[in-house]
Amino acid sequence: MPPVAIETAMTLQLSHLSRRFTGIPALDDVSLAIAPGEFLALLGSSGSGKTTLLRILAGLDYPDAGTVQLDGRDFLAAEARERKVGLVFQHYALFRHLTVAENVAFGLRVRARKSRPSNADINRRVEQLLKRVQLDGYGRRYPAQLSGGQRQRVALARALAVEPSLLLLDEPFGALDAQVRVALRRWLRELHEELRLTTVFVTHDQEEALELADRIAVMNHGHIEQVGTPEVIYQQPATPFVCEFIGKMNKLAVTCADGRMSVGDWVLEGLPGNDRHAKVVAYVRPEHLSLGLPETRPGWTARLRHVYLAGSVAHLELHIPAIGQTLEADVGGEDVARLGLQVGTELRVAPRSAVVFALGESDARLPFEERWFWQAPDAVPPVPRATSVASIGEGRARAGRCS
């Protein structure tokens, strides 16, 4: 995906949006720029404010403070029906008393007479759209006669019929079963590549967001924790929340003493260990644990407790008595046999890379004081990065704010 130029025209600029519901902040000073043609995911757990943000864009809710500008014009001044926004809901929200074709045609039929296309044009357009969502021949059915996946495609066709400049999807696959969800996801991605329609979609499913989106905005408690491409979100999490929210992570408490950072016998070489920081934690992905380490390398002795073979990947549960923790490690399915891994086996383990946060104690508003990306000096870097140790700006308040 080529990087999108934020400065170009038709950018949707959200600035300092706040919204409270009976005193509880649903959005807290959210700023975000959405580039034209971009596929943006708002990812967060329930109550993170992602749906509120979407509803504000749709014109179904209004912020208490802040602005939304489209190409420099005030987007919030327009009413929902004037915004040319295509909206798709989790539970389809189809008009159940209308046939599929009538549903799709709805947005065209309610237009004022002078801007309404002729009946023949409407019918032609409906037919095209139904073909596009692979439902040609279903026009005369009622929504009650369709499956969930089909209904959601009708909802999408209905939203596309009005030729929206912005497509908003609210948990569009939330009500579908797993297989249909994956198929529909791929199909939606293809459709987006074809239409290049600016799309914002809300999801709590990180897998969905990572697979579909050009960029992801991770939301938590009404603010954006990080905005970035799926790669950046996964590999360079900006805050401890993003670490814990995205993918699996082993969380380790780091000891800073004698000028170095360590967790048990594992030393984070190259990181400055001083007692300036109240608390330091390291996050290690299960796939970034090296197993069967030579004795010369600093690491832990672990006992294998469980092997969960999940197809191509095996999830290992490793108990490390020295730090009193059980870590999770992922290895390829064939490595289990190659390394002779059996329950009860003792082996030496150490992380290849980790994300390390120095957490502030005094000021709780800051998610952290300092962040490092640590990599084992001799490891083949799993992340193509020039330096093995990277430190980013100190004490960034609420990383990920888009400027």
């Binding site: 749709a58 929902a80 909206l87 809901f89 539970h91 008009f95 209308l98 929504p143 209905r158």
Partner: protein, 274 residues
């Protein structure tokens, strides 16, 4: 045969039909048997009497009009009760059922006291030349009163279960408020609205107690068919009363069947493909 989850289909169906026969069909059969006493000639004579025809017309046209009024205002009241939160909503909601609870004669007397030419409201209306009590409008007013709860009570649960998403979808597709109401909300309510309409209509056709107090019962003008039946009974003309009853029954039955057909057509979207 398809296996059913709950057993006892044959037994419960048998009981249901027997019960329906005992409670509804048996009295009606007795009515038909009694009515046959006057013969074809007597029936024709009865139906060709202008007084009978006028009474039947008032009963059915009045009930129809009352049911239409109830459908409209019942929808409005149900909408307000379901959609808005305001102080006194629960009290207002409880008031809806009062026409059910009140003995109809009491309702009739209360309405008459209000709308009689010397009543609180009647005094003003008479000075403007509008006569309600002792005239057809009084009949319709009483019918509206007794039929009112049906539409509200049938609509309320359906209105409450409507998906807000659907209205929001309509709005974002460019529909105005009126378009959203008439194209999205109302069509879904029509089958239920027709149920309430049918109940209010049936109640109004059969209403006796409240109507006779306010109607004034002037033959050819404000006399309803049930009153005519009572008059025949008082003259010991049982066969005539039964025959008139049969005519009303048939007319009501045809009306209800038509409404039910209309209802099925308006709710055709809810049927699943087999």
């Amino acid at each position: 045969m398809r296996r059913r989850i709950l057993p006892g289909f044959g037994l419960s169906l048998g009981y249901a039909l027997a019960y329906l026969g005992l409670i509804v069909l048996l009295p009606l059969a007795a009515l038909a048997w009694k009515a046959s006493g006057i013969g074809i000639g007597g029936m024709l004579h009865l139906l060709s009497s202008p007084r009978t025809l006028a009474a039947l017309r008032l009963s059915f046209a009045g009930a129809m009009l009352a049911a239409v009024i109830n459908a409209g205002f019942g929808l409005l009241v149900a909408w307000v009760l379901v959609r808005y939160r305001f102080p006194g909503r629960r009290l207002f909601d409880a008031l809806v059922d009062l026409p059910f609870a009140l003995p109809t004669a009491v309702a009739g007397i209360a309405l008459t006291a209000l709308y009689a030419p010397n009543g609180w409201l009647g005094r003003w209306l008479t000075s403007w030349g509008i006569q309600i009590a002792y005239a057809p409008p009084g009949v319709i007013l009483a019918m509206v009163f007794v039929g009112f709860p049906f539409v509200v009570r049938t609509l309320q649960p359906v209105l409450a279960s409507l998906d807000r998403d659907v209205e929001e979808a309509a709005e974002s597709l460019g529909a105005s408020h009126l378009q959203t109401f008439f194209r999205v909300i109302l069509p879904v309510l029509v089958p239920t609205l027709l149920t309430g309409f049918a109940l209010a209509l049936a109640r109004a056709v059969g209403e006796y107690g409240s109507v006779i107090f306010i109607a004034g019962n002037i033959p050819m003008r404000s006399e309803i068919a049930p009153l005519l039946i009572v008059e025949k009974l008082e003259e010991f003309d049982y066969a005539g009363a039964a025959a008139l009853g049969m005519v009303m029954l048939l007319a009501s039955f045809i009306l209800l069947i038509l409404i039910s057909r209309l209802q099925r057509w308006s709710g055709r979207w809810a049927e699943q493909l087999q």
